[in-house]
């Protein structure tokens, strides 16, 4: 199986400059500096690389949207990995920090950026030490700082820690947080490419996305684009968790069947239970029932199945689990993490929570399910950022595929009795 990001991931001391360079690290810089910045952007466009943080926006296109001739520009690497089920960036930051730095240098050169920040979630404090050390090593080698490798190109990269707010993974909330404020999302437009950090043109990319760029520069866009499906190119890191025998992060070529990921890579369902449902892309995407396990793991196939690839967190749920309880746990998460700026999200998450909690206490009635759908309808796509939509996903999909599990709770409760 083709491994790009995880090729040497478990090699001893890969996080050090010495070992990383022995494995061919930083070779892409010279190749890149022999080209014009726009040629790098064109290559990333041609590679078909799409953002790996959740939205799947074409990376090269994002870079090309930067407001013309406005400087300084900034790069923000989104390392606020907080989507429930997702832990791939943590593994990259922990074991291969130089790969991210190399990717950030390439992106900065291509976009003529001289300052980059790595916004890490506050709980990754341990990783910030590793990252800072790697940045120091890159400085000592002359890969960062002034006049990098005699090209006249300057770049500084800094780590910046958040402090425990899921919403800061949303790009405009991340910018507000990095500017020293509350992590509330901004109205868009203007998009960050035009007015981002400090109201300057800003590129925001996920850790995994930036880590792919050295491969594209080294091996060529064509080679990367030869992997995967027609519209979903390359490989994807998948965090497989839940009721599987071998939970872990796996790198798969786009389009691999979900069955293969769950049963071959992750060893199948634990304790000889059966698969009941799976959430393919982190808690913010709709869950699917076991009958759809053959769906291809790529943006289009998952969209056709009514869900999304998201951040690549495959959460596996077996037949012993209670879907209503699991759904409540996710609602509870979004209720806790709603920043409170938009009413449909602030109030809606709380209402959903109250209703599902009542259902679980056998205090609900059949109309409650319709009420849940009604509230969801009033939350989706009615807010500044997608947090409300994310909360709607598990609720609506659990009702769609497992309505009978909700109805179980009303069996002994006559209509109008509560």
């Amino acid at each position: 199986m083709t491994q790009i990001l995880f090729k040497n991931i478990n090699m001893k001391d890969l996080h050090t400059m010495k070992v990383y360079e022995e494995q061919g690290g930083y070779q892409s810089l010279k190749k890149a500096f022999d080209q014009k910045p726009d040629e790098i952007i064109d290559a990333v466009k041609a590679s078909g690389l799409r953002g790996r943080g959740g939205a799947g926006f074409p990376t090269g296109l994002k870079w090309s949207f930067l407001a013309k001739d406005v400087f300084p520009r900034y790069l923000c690497c989104n390392a606020d990995e907080s989507e429930p089920g997702t832990c791939k960036d943590r593994e990259l930051l922990l074991k291969n920090p130089h790969m991210l730095i190399e990717g950030m240098i390439l992106c900065s050169y291509a976009c003529r950026i001289e300052t980059g920040y790595i916004y890490m979630r506050g709980e990754f404090h341990d990783l910030s030490f590793i990252m800072d050390k790697a940045i120091e090593e890159a400085h000592a080698k002359g890969y960062l700082g002034k006049n990098i490798m005699g090209t006249g190109f300057n770049l500084e990269i800094y780590t910046h820690l958040g402090a425990g707010a899921y919403i800061c993974g949303e790009e405009s909330a991340l910018l507000n947080s990095l500017e020293g404020g509350r992590g509330e999302p901004r109205m868009k437009p203007p998009f960050p490419a035009v007015e981002g950090l400090y109201a300057k043109p800003t590129v925001i990319n996920n850790v995994e996305t930036l880590c792919v760029v050295p491969y594209i520069v080294n091996e060529g866009a064509e080679k990367y684009a030869s992997l995967g499906t027609e519209k979903s190119k390359g490989t994807k890191l998948v965090s497989v968790s839940g009721h599987v025998k071998k939970p872990g992060n796996y790198e798969v070529v786009m389009g691999t069947s979900t069955r293969e990921i769950i049963y071959d890579l992750a060893g199948g369902i634990r304790d000889d239970n059966e698969l009941k449902a799976f959430i393919p892309g982190g808690s913010s995407v709709p869950m699917l029932p076991a009958s759809q396990v053959d769906v291809g793991y790529d943006y289009e196939s998952l969209a056709a199945a009514g869900t999304m690839l998201g951040s690549g967190a495959l959460i596996v749920i077996d037949n012993k689990a209670n879907i209503v309880e699991t759904t409540l746990r996710l609602i509870s998460f979004y209720m806790h993490e709603s920043c409170g700026k938009c009413t449909p999200c602030r109030e809606g998450t709380r209402w959903l929570h109250q209703i599902v909690e009542r259902i679980l206490q056998h205090k609900g009635q059949l109309e409650y399910v319709n009420k849940l759908e009604d509230i969801c309808d009033n939350m989706a796509f009615k807010t500044f950022c997608p947090l409300a939509d994310a909360c709607v996903s598990p609720v609506m999909s659990s009702i769609k595929h497992f309505r009978s599990e909700y109805e179980e709770y009303f069996k002994n409760t006559p209509v109008g009795s509560v």
Binding site: G122, Y158, L161, G180, R182, G183, G248, I315
Partner: protein, 158 residues
């Protein structure tokens, strides 16, 4: 208001932090983190000291810190236990383990032991789902938890 001063070493650290950003205010979270880690609490006096470093009002500092869960206006224990209760951990039985931990420490979830050694908090996803159930104590992640392993971990901390 007086009563909070940064140490010489902290002043040096702060100078390094401020140098990272073109605008002082960006140092808000780093400074709050610095105080939280050193003091285990952010007092009103510390908010004033931070506001002076960043040329903003103490009220603004308070408004920002109240947004984030990692800052505390009541002192937390020497060991901050963040116990993940989100989906992957839930599917792997974290609820019983959290209860077990609270019973073992003889505190409510959210509370601090009388000797200020441990604070136990329920926490949303900590991005270590493949090692669920898991918890974070100060800067260290502990995965694949069982009752025995929790005993070992907590007993090993002094």
């Amino acid at each position: 208001m007086s009563g909070f001063t940064f140490s010489e070493k902290q002043e040096e650290e702060i100078a390094g932090i401020l140098a990272k950003y073109p605008f002082k205010k960006s140092a808000m979270l780093p400074l709050l983190t610095l105080v939280q880690r050193a003091e285990r609490v952010i007092s009103p006096e510390a908010m004033v000291a931070i506001s002076q470093k960043l040329d903003c009002s103490p009220a603004y500092v308070q408004s920002v810190l109240s947004f984030y869960t990692m800052y505390h206006t009541e002192k937390v224990g020497r060991y901050m236990i963040l116990f993940c209760i989100n989906i992957s951990c839930q599917l792997n039985g974290c609820d019983k383990l959290l209860e077990y931990t609270a019973d073992k420490l003889d505190i409510e979830v959210g509370g601090t032991t009388a000797d200020e050694k441990f604070t136990l908090h329920r926490e949303e996803c900590l991005a270590d789902c493949t090692n669920a159930p898991m918890m974070r104590i100060n800067d260290t992640y502990y995965g694949d938890l069982t009752e025995q392993r929790i005993d070992q971990i907590l007993d090993s901390l002094d």
